[in-house]
Structures are given as structure tokens and as C-alpha cells.
């Protein structure tokens, strides 16, 4: 059978809870084998969308196709999807082996086959075989996480739905599990739809990121696109300490000119690609990622310069973060590579440099 | 003294039994100082249902400036045992079945009364109840005054059966009456009539052969029994709708309240004597003064109150049951309707064909037989 290139095709999805409209005319497709992250603040509808994909919630409107089949009226138990729950939802009365083998047990697979599959998953998840007869509460948080993953992957689903499964873990464990999730995705080739409120996590894991707000898709694209070409200030400020400076944009030949009080540029001219749709006219915000800025040595020049004095600095290992106060009272965040000799101290007057090409403008 | 299964049983004759009671009473009372008599503002009264009627209690409380706390008993031996176990110290008066009141004086848990002091009360009674009144007497000493009475015999719903049908307890054992007999679960009451039907006077000392006869008659009775019922209203309901053709162990106590409500087709009768043995039983309740009342004068006043003709009428006429009273003077205060309800035209005929209820010497063996046969019935 020819695999459809789009494993999930959602068209014009609507979801109401009473009169509350949780999803608004949403269309989205996921390619076979793709890792898609759904990102947004709580209440944006990302979890509702995931539940609709899983079959835990009905659609109020629109259509959903998974693997070329219309999912209308198809219960969760008959969908080619598997969910990894936020609180893992491991069965406390079943052993690790019974938990992992549960979907196969339900599918009435022969016992040896279930045993072999469970062992294979154990190996894939780097879990010890001695855990097989333990109960979930006898495992650590990270181990439980792996068991939950193993349970949802054991029957080789076509789509794996992940509902913020890392949110309860500490930062270090989270990092190692994120790396592992990425590896798993490569190894099994299943499509992953991963819900998270952490854009950083999404950027690390996903092929594409879908940023949502108030039941709508704000932006859908590759991590680099989301990071460097955010659709609006909301997306831009969703990750890191982004500098957003008020500016005015006016059309010019081959692009735009801009006027920003904080920023003095020799040639304030932008290409059309450097301007987000909707920002073409009037009030705009200039987005400067902290790592785009550099500290200028005395007499050194740059295409654009910001003047101010160091308010604070943090040594963060690989980088040093400066918070620079400009004369008009704006605070600018700058990340520069770490060095053993501190280039500037609190209160010191500094000049920050920037290339015009690193500027991106969103609607104000 | 007979012994059965290690439990000391009643002595061969009533006299010995009463003496034994007295001895036990003295042991029980030894070393206890009586409460000091004083004007009481509160009295404790142990009684059967009916005596607690507001129209009886309230006038007494008002007249004597006293509050009566009522403790209702559901079982005469249980009430006796409670007083004997030490509760006599708390109570001032008691109304219970006459055999138990009779025993309370000799047992040292009730005061004897002076017949002379209550001569006027006796004069107001029917002559059958006048002093010397044997059922409440022991060695010439009287405990308590009679207050209510009636007879035990077949209860008949004449819509289903003729009265003649029940001139004997024979239908209880008739296959036609299978599953139509209700036995009242009231201690010894249902056992006594069945013993009489078997030709045995249960109020005598019985030998093993006689006890076995009682076993057989109970076994036969249980074959026809639809239910063993403790609750009067369940029994009455069955009698009314015909599912119970009679209630064994009951009589006027079960039927009079139905007659009061206009169900005149419900009657209690006494069977005809069988082989020279009366088949009916007269039951009587009496009221006595518990040993060392707080205020002896008020305790005596309660006795006078309960036996006065006006109160006797109230006592005869209560919600759950209607009963006869010993007061002849009260008869004039009853309406013709009330007399009809109480079957007063039949009362002396019933009296003449009956035994007077007493504690049977072999009652514990009979109750044990009852338990055994009931356990084996189904």
C-alpha cells in the first residue's frame, strides 16, 4: 500500500465547549514520519487539538483524516494513534511488562509475540529487564516516562501523540529524555505530534512547529523560521529574551526604510523578506535576538549601533548575558560568547553593534 | 431443684420458686442503703405501651407536681431482669404482667402494699379482682394492684371464618389452614395455648413426656405457620386481609383496637374446654411500687391514679390496643360502643373458660424447645 504523504489532514476544525470556542477553523496537516510540535500558552487549544486527534473529544465542525480515513465516529480505541499522557497514566495495578504489553494484549496477540515486543521496547528505551515484574510506583520518574513511551510505541502506531510528557521532570532529566525522544523518532519513523508550552523544547525536537494562540494557528514552520522569521511579536517573544524595539517602517525601492529611536544605523534599509506580513505599514517592532548583538571596541563601527551603559551581566558558561540600559530607558539584552576576561562591567558605557541583515521586523 | 444443661431451673412448686426469688433478692439488696424518702419532683416509671398515654400521665404530673420519666418495656421477663439487676434503685413504679409484679415483692425489688390502705380501690373493682386477690399475693403479702386485663384465644375474622370454626385450636393443624396461621413471637404467650390444646396444663411442673408433647404440638403448629410475627400491626394487617386466619398467642390485645376502628367482624374468643381442660388464658397487668421509691406517697398516689375509674377508662382505650380494666365503677363510664369494642358481654364467659396466666415452672425448657423447633421448621 502506498503511504499517504500526509498522515494527518485536519480541515476547518472547530471545537466548542458549551459556548466557548476552543478551536477556530483550524487546518493542519502532518507528513508521514514528521515530528510536529504544537506550542502555545495554556488555553491556546493545543491540548484540545491533541485530544481530537486521539479521539477523546468530538469535533464540533470540520473534518479530520488520519491515514486516509475519515475519523468521524471512529472511537479512540480504533484509531492508529497512541497517546503519551502528561501524567503518564501508567496502570498502577499492572507490572511494567503488563503495562507495555497492554495494547498487544488487547489486540489478542500471542503471548510469545507480546513478550518479544515488550523486550524489544525495553531495549529501545534502555530499561533493565529486571524491571519487567515491577510496578510503576517502584520506578523513578524517568523510568516511568520510558515505560509510558514504550507502552505507546509497542504496537507501532502510525502517529504518536505526546501531551507535555516532560513537564513534570526536572531540567536535567528533561534534557536527556528530549535527546532520547529525538533518537526514538529517528529510529522508529513514526509521526510524532508533541504538545508543549516550551518553545525551546519544540525547537530542539520538531521538524515543524505550530504556534497557537486562542484557538488559532499563528505560525507553522520549521524551527529556524519560527526563530528568525516570527509571524508577530507574540511568536518572537515566546522564546528567549528577545529585544523588540518600536520603529516606523516606510516603503522604499526594493524594500523598506525604518526609523528606530534606540538604533542608529548608517543605512536603515531592509529587504522585503526581513519584514513580517502585516508590518509593512506604520508602527512596527524591530526584533533583535540577543546573540545577534556584539560588543564594539572603542572606535569600532557597525552597520547599526546602540549606545548605553551596562546595567547587569550574568556569566552563563558558554555565554555572557549583558543587560544594557539605553538613554531612552530601553533595556537591551545581549548574549556574547564567554571569555575569561570580562569585556565590560556594571555602569560602564558601551556600544553594541549589529548587522542590518540580522534585523527582522514584525507588526507593532 | 431440677437442672438442665447446667442452668439452675425453677423449683418444683411455685412457693419454692417465690422463696428462691426472695432469697436472691435479699442477696442482691444486701449492703445497700435505701434512698432517703423525700418529696419527689421526678419519678421513674417502667411500663408497657399504653400506660404512657399523655391523658393518663399529664393529669398525674400536674396534680402531684412531679415529672414522670417513662421506660417502655417490650418483654415482661426482660423488665423483671432489668429491675432485679439493680435498676430497682432508679425506678419508683412499674406496670407489667401480673406474674412478674407478683414476684417483685418477694424478690425484694418491689414494696408490698397494705390491702387495708387500698380498701376503697378494691371496693371499686369487680368482685373477681377484690382482696384477697391470689394472682398478686404471696404468703398473704400483696405486690401491686391489677390495672388491665384480657383473654388469650383465637382471633377470628368473621368475614373468612365462622366463630364456631375456632371453638377449638384444631384448625391450626388442619391442612386446609396451611400457610394461614400467624404465630406471635411474644415469648411464652404462643406456647401456652398450644400446650393446653395438647392436653397439658403448662402452669404445672412438667415431666419429660409432657415436654415432648409440647415439642410435638409446636412442630405441628410450625408446619401450618405462615409467619412468626412480633409486630402487632403486621399481624393485624394479615388478619384483616385474610392471609392470617388467626394469631396464636394473642387475643383481645390484638383485636380490640381493630374493633375500635369499626372492624367489628374481628373478634377474640376463647375455645371450648377440651377433655375437661380450659383452653383460654386470662392475662392481667398490674402496677406495683418499686422498692424504696423516692417518694412513697406519690408512688401510692400513682397506683390510686391508675386504678381510678376515670383513668381506667383512659387506660382501656389507647391507640394501639384496647383492653379491659378491673374497675367495676369504670364500666358505667364506658359507652355502649366502647363496651361492644371491648366485647364486655363476653368477658365473664371467657374468664370462666380460662386459666390465669402465670410464670410456668418449665418455661425455659419450653422456650428452648420453641427455639429448637423453629430452627428446624424451614
Amino acid at each position: 500500500m502506498q503511504l499517504p504523504s500526509q498522515i494527518i489532514e485536519a480541515t476547518g476544525i472547530e471545537k466548542y465547549y458549551g459556548t466557548y470556542r476552543a478551536l477556530k477553523n483550524m487546518s493542519l496537516s502532518v507528513a508521514t514520519g514528521e515530528f510536529l510540535a504544537l506550542v502555545g500558552p495554556s488555553g491556546c487549544g493545543k491540548t484540545s487539538l491533541l485530544k481530537i486527534l486521539a479521539g477523546f473529544e468530538d469535533l464540533s465542525g470540520g473534518s479530520l483524516m488520519i491515514d486516509g480515513r475519515d475519523m468521524a465516529g471512529v472511537p479512540a480505541s480504533e484509531r492508529p494513534t497512541r497517546m503519551v499522557f502528561q501524567k503518564l497514566a501508567l496502570f498502577p495495578h499492572k507490572t511494567v511488562a503488563q503495562n507495555i504489553g497492554f495494547p498487544l494484549h488487547l489486540a489478542k496477540r500471542p503471548k510469545p509475540e507480546i513478550g518479544a515486543a515488550v523486550r524489544r521496547m525495553l531495549e529501545l528505551m534502555h530499561l533493565k529487564e529486571s524491571y519487567l515484574n515491577r510496578y510503576p510506583h517502584e520506578l523513578s520518574g524517568g523510568e516511568q516516562q520510558r515505560v509510558a513511551l514504550a507502552r505507546s510505541m509497542v504496537s507501532q502506531p502510525q502517529v504518536l501523540l505526546l501531551d507535555e510528557p516532560m513537564s513534570a521532570l526536572d531540567a536535567k532529566l528533561k534534557k536527556s529524555l528530549q535527546a532520547e525522544l529525538k533518537r526514538l523518532h529517528r529510529q522508529v519513523g513514526t509521526s510524532f505530534v508533541h504538545v508543549t508550552h516550551d518553545l525551546e523544547e519544540a525547537m530542539m525536537l520538531a521538524d515543524r512547529i505550530c504556534v497557537m494562540r486562542a484557538g488559532e494557528i499563528i505560525q507553522l514552520g520549521a524551527p529556524a523560521e519560527i526563530y528568525y522569521r516570527p509571524a508577530d511579536a507574540f511568536v518572537a517573544s515566546f522564546i528567549g529574551d528577545t529585544n523588540l524595539l518600536p520603529a516606523r517602517l516606510s516603503p522604499a525601492q526594493d524594500g523598506f526604510t525604518f526609523d528606530c529611536a534606540t538604533l542608529s544605523c548608517t543605512q536603515p534599509q531592509l529587504h522585503a523578506q526581513q519584514v513580517a506580513p502585516g508590518a509593512e505599514n506604520g508602527a512596527a517592532l524591530v526584533m533583535i535576538r540577543p546573540e545577534m548583538l556584539r560588543l564594539l571596541a572603542p572606535g569600532e563601527d557597525a552597520e547599526c549601533v546602540i549606545e548605553g551603559e551596562v546595567a547587569e551581566y550574568f556569566i552563563r558558561g558558554a555565554s555572557i548575558q549583558y543587560r544594557v540600559a539605553t538613554r531612552d530607558g530601553t533595556e537591551i539584552v545581549m548574549d556574547i560568547p564567554g571569555t575569561s576576561v570580562l569585556p565590560a562591567r556594571n555602569g560602564e558605557a558601551v556600544r553594541l553593534g549589529l548587522s542590518v541583515a540580522d534585523i527582522f521586523v514584525v507588526r507593532g | 431443684m431440677t437442672q438442665k444443661n447446667g442452668i439452675p431451673m425453677f423449683s418444683p412448686n411455685r412457693r419454692g420458686f417465690l422463696q428462691g426469688m426472695g432469697a436472691a433478692g435479699l442477696v442482691g439488696a444486701a449492703g445497700l442503703t435505701p434512698r432517703k424518702a423525700r418529696a419527689a419532683t421526678a419519678m421513674q416509671y417502667m411500663c408497657w405501651e399504653g400506660y404512657d398515654k399523655a391523658s393518663i400521665i399529664q393529669p398525674f404530673e400536674a396534680a402531684q407536681d412531679v415529672t414522670l420519666s417513662i421506660d417502655l418495656i417490650t418483654d415482661s421477663p426482660g423488665g423483671f431482669a432489668k429491675l432485679a439487676a439493680g435498676a430497682w434503685r432508679d425506678f419508683d413504679a412499674v406496670s407489667s404482667d401480673s406474674p412478674w409484679i407478683q414476684r417483685m415483692g418477694p424478690a425484694g425489688i418491689a414494696e408490698f402494699i397494705d390491702a387495708g390502705e387500698f380498701a376503697d380501690v378494691y371496693d371499686s373493682f369487680y368482685e373477681q379482682f377484690r382482696a384477697p386477690f391470689a394472682p398478686l399475693e404471696f404468703d398473704g403479702q400483696i405486690t401491686g394492684l391489677p390495672t388491665r386485663w384480657g383473654w388469650v384465644g383465637p382471633t377470628v375474622n368473621t368475614q373468612f371464618d365462622d366463630l364456631d370454626k375456632w371453638s377449638s385450636y384444631a384448625p391450626c393443624f388442619d391442612p386446609d389452614y396451611k400457610d394461614k396461621i400467624c404465630v406471635l413471637d411474644w415469648g411464652d404467650w404462643p406456647i401456652m395455648p398450644m400446650a393446653l390444646y395438647a392436653g397439658i396444663n403448662p402452669y404445672k411442673e412438667l415431666d419429660d413426656a409432657e415436654l415432648n408433647e409440647i415439642r410435638l404440638v409446636l412442630r405441628a403448629l410450625f408446619k401450618n405457620t405462615r409467619a412468626v410475627v412480633a409486630d402487632l400491626s403486621v399481624a393485624q394487617k394479615g388478619l384483616m386481609d385474610g392471609s392470617f386466619r388467626t394469631l396464636i398467642g394473642g387475643g383481645t390485645y390484638c383485636t380490640s383496637a381493630l374493633r375500635k376502628d369499626g372492624q367489628k367482624h374481628i373478634m377474640s374468643i376463647v375455645p371450648e374446654p377440651k377433655d375437661g381442660l380450659n383452653q383460654g388464658i386470662i392475662w392481667m397487668e398490674a402496677t406495683g411500687i418499686v422498692k424504696d421509691p423516692v417518694d412513697p406517697a406519690k408512688a401510692k398516689a400513682l397506683l390510686r391514679h391508675l386504678t381510678s375509674p376515670e383513668v381506667a377508662v383512659e387506660l382501656a382505650w389507647t391507640e394501639a390496643t384496647c383492653n379491659l380494666v378491673p374497675s367495676q365503677q369504670a364500666e358505667a363510664l364506658f359507652s355502649d360502643e366502647q363496651k361492644d369494642v371491648l366485647q364486655m358481654d363476653y368477658m365473664w364467659e371467657a374468664w370462666d373458660k380460662s386459666h390465669f396466666h402465670d410464670v410456668a415452672p418449665n418455661i425455659d425448657q419450653m422456650l428452648e424447645i420453641w427455639q429448637q423447633e423453629l430452627a428446624a421448621a424451614r
Binding site: 499522557f85 | 425453677f10 410475627v229 412480633a230
Partner: protein
Amino acid sequence: MAVMDKSWRDAALRISTLPLLLLFATFFVIPLVMTVLLSFQGTQYYRLVWTWDLKVWADVFGQAHYWKIMWRTLTMALICTLLCSVLAIPIAYAMVNRLGRWSEHVMLLMVFAFLTDAVLKTFGWVLFLDRSGVLNGTLQALGLPPSAVNVLFTPSATMIGMVYNLLPYAIFTTALSMARIDRDLLLASYDAGASRVRSFFEVTLPLSRPGISAGAVLVFVLSLGVFLEPKVMGGGTSPMAAELIRQSFETRVNWPLGAALTVVLIVIGAAVLALAGSVAILRARRAA
């Protein structure tokens, strides 16, 4: 488990539980000990005599009918426990998972019924089940012969009464257990491919076991002591232990005998619970 073990070694904790311990000793252990001691006494002339002998016990062990009634009580209690546990499961499930906003109303109605005087309810049943009662009247109106259901005053009626009066205990404990099950576990089960029915048996039922067991223990203990149901609905012709004990105490005024029969009943009840408990522990160990 480790936490519990440790807490028992904590002196402060042990002292803080002392009042409760004393309360238990006063209101539970002492009456029990007194009941046991009472069974070694005798009666004479309707009074207790301090004989300190085994005569009452010889009587108890020598009389088959006591044991017949005890056996009947035990089997009735076990059947009642089984019926209540089995009936409570779907009712509790419906209340927790299916009735939605109606479940509170249903719960309220049940609490009302539960708190209504048992005597009233039992009489209601008599009127309902009687040969000329509501049930037979209805059936007759539907074309069945008169008195089609002749169940009143039989052991079956006793059982109906027992189940009716004790079922709420099983429902409440089971529902409590079911309500505590994380809804995600059911979703996880559906997600793994289980139908609703399958999920019920794979997830809901095993995780409701604590509530079902607690309900079963409650129902069992209470049904050993039922009194009204055999007497009123059962027609008194199949007496159970509580009635036997009442007769011994009240009608026969034989307190030592009543005490001995009480001890027998308590021992039977405790033995059954201990047996059930050890079976459960054994099963849990084997599973682990």
C-alpha cells in the same frame, strides 16, 4: 511501607495515638472482655449468679439448633455480601461515570432512603411484597394470576430486605473508590485499543478493589447482625443469630447464654474476615 514502619518507631507519634488507643480499649475491648466473662456465669431465678463454670458453653456446644442458626446466619451474610458487592459495581459505575450531573441527585435520593428509619422501609417492603400487595396487584393488572409472587415471609424476602438495607454501604465505598480513579487511566486504556467494556474490566474494576473490599467487609459484618429483616420480612420462621441472642437475653433472661452466643457470632465473623484478609494478602504477594 517504609514510611509506615518508621512512623511506628516514632515515640511522639505513639504517644499521640494513645488517647485513641484508650478510647478503643474502653469502648471496644472492655465490653468484649465482659461479654466473654459473662458467658462463664449462670442464672438463677432470672438473676445472674457468678458461678465461673463451663455449663453455658457445654449447652452451646451441645445444642444443634444454635449451630444451625449460626450456619444460616453465616451463609445468608455471605450471600448478601456477594449480592451487594456485585450489584454495587454497576450502580457505582453509573453514578460516577455515566449519570453526569444527575449523579448528585441520585446520590441525594440514596442518602435519604439510607437515612430513613429501617423499620419504616422494612414495612414498606412488606406492603410491596405481600400476596395482596403492590407488586402482586401490578402483576395481576398485567394479566398474571393473583399472588404470582409469593415471596413474603420466606428467606428470599429476608435476603431482599438485607440487600436493600445494606446495599448503600457497598455502593458508597465502591463509588468512592471509582471516583478516585484517574480519568486518564481510562483514556489510556481506550487509547491502547480497549472498548469501554474491556476498559471497565482491565482498569476500573481492579482499581475499585479497595472500595469493593471495604464495602464487602461492612456489609458482611452488618449482615451478621441483621434483626429486622428476618423477623419482619422473613416472617420469623428462619431466625438468624441476632434474634437468637435477643431471645436468650430478653425472653429467656439467660444473659450468660446470650453472651456465649454473641461470642460465637463474633468469632465466626472475625474468622471469616481473617480468612478473606489472608487470602487477599497471599494473592497480592503472589502477584508482586
